[in-house]
Amino acid sequence: MTRSLLGLGALALASMALALALGSVNVAPADLWQVIQGEGSTLHRTLLLDLRLPRTLAAFGTGGLLAVAGALMQVLLRNPLADPYVLGLSGGGAVGALLAMLAGMGTLIISGSAFGGAMLATVLVFGLAHGTGSWTPSRLLLTGVVVAAGWGAVITLMLAITPSYKLPGMLYWLMGDVSYARSPWPAVVVLVVSVVLIMPLARNLNVLARGPMQAAALGVAVRPLEWTIYVVASLLTATAVTTAGSIGFVGLIVPHMLRLILGNDQRIILPASALAGGTLLVLADTLARTMIAPEQLPVGVITALLGVPTFLYLLHRSR
């Protein structure tokens, strides 16, 4: 099990090296190695450390955040369809960001507005689903799907009334774009801190996956645990949406692919999701930058194009 995590870690490093080396100017492995050692030419140092490294880290952090948030929500709802995108949390973030763009605000306000929108969406979905009774997973999922459709309508409305010169920026944000990331550090720091903090709860999550009654009978304080996961997953999602817009499929597909390969032990799945989600988005962003360079593609399109066939293949051959 430790071996699969080491393998994923190696893959993550390899994908980051690839992302650093490829671009409008390709850097040879020998030059890349020199820069990593703190040497190399000024041109290469600027290109790699100031331009490509922040973007690569932002992609890795965002992908990891989305995958871990998806893994947590799937256990919380005991439903394999749960993910930040499906539950409308990304949609809330998008509405927040688009409102700020429409008002002509700067990037800092846009980020703050996206974060606020995602948190508002979370409170809305979980508050409405709670209703008079308690959360039932199917009710929560249904509420999320309906609220997501509502956000979708609001987004379409805003696009319809937006002056055309503002549209490209908005569309790119909606499809996910890592180049919006102002700094990679919020995503990376939130990812590392939350995975470290949630690891002691991982075995509790394994038991919770068997249902709340069974978990309570085995000594899990179910209610506090559910609230903790809910708050952490919301924070992860809001941070991801703020960093790179709304990127679908990562939160849904990555935890599932890992479960099909590694089983459903959250002690493995949570760190593995962080590594594999990050790797997927780094690779997708590299493709998005290079496929039709100097034009860039929205990274959300690439994650879907890479993720969907891989997922279907794994699902098809699983027992």
Partner: protein, 256 residues
Amino acid sequence: MSTLNTRDLVINVPGRPDGFPLNMSIEPGQIWGVLGPNGAGKTTLLHTLAGLLPARSGQVQLNSTSLTALKRRDIARQLGLVFQERQDSFPATVLETALIGRHPWLSPWDSEQGEDLRRAEQALATLDVNHLSDRLLNTLSGGERQRVAIATLMTQNPEVLLLDEPTNHLDLYHQVKVMNLLRDQVGAGKTVFMCLHDLNLAARWCSHVLLLYTNGGACWGPAKNMLEPAALERLYNQKLITVEADGAPVFVPVSF
């Protein structure tokens, strides 16, 4: 050794006016069977005794401490429950399922060690499902899954064992095997309390019986006093023929 007491306990069955308060003392070495028609509240009682459902009034005490004053983890080290229905939203293997029984015994950073694995494997072997260790739970038959659930309880190894119809889906051989296993547990100082639908299993293996009526009425006591044909006919609203076999009464429903 652990004793489970109920003090004026009224279980919360939805839509029922207050039932008869229960004052039972379920002690080590005793094996209790709860009998009653569908909807009498057997499962609700079992969940209330485990502290999973709030009582309408009164309380449940584990070794004279109220369950509500104990942490879930401390309860789970002394008291375990086999549910009648289980959900498996995610695929899991038989061995993984048995191992979750060790959960209350491990601290957050611990992972299962050799000793935990040995207990799980031994429990699976006791229930004749060790050859299925690596199989996914959802590929098993109903009876095999029932045996895995009981093996999980054995891996948890609590002092008080609560079981909701433990012989559900089991073939005759394994019904006898499970009932003998529970009798062995009681012989080792454990406390067993279970819901049953089979009067004859209760007559053969239970030391104490609780009869739960649909209207909330209840009576309890040593099995030989409680298993009166007239009382059982009233309980189930079903005529019975009673014969004697292998040293225990056998109740056969009359088909008219």
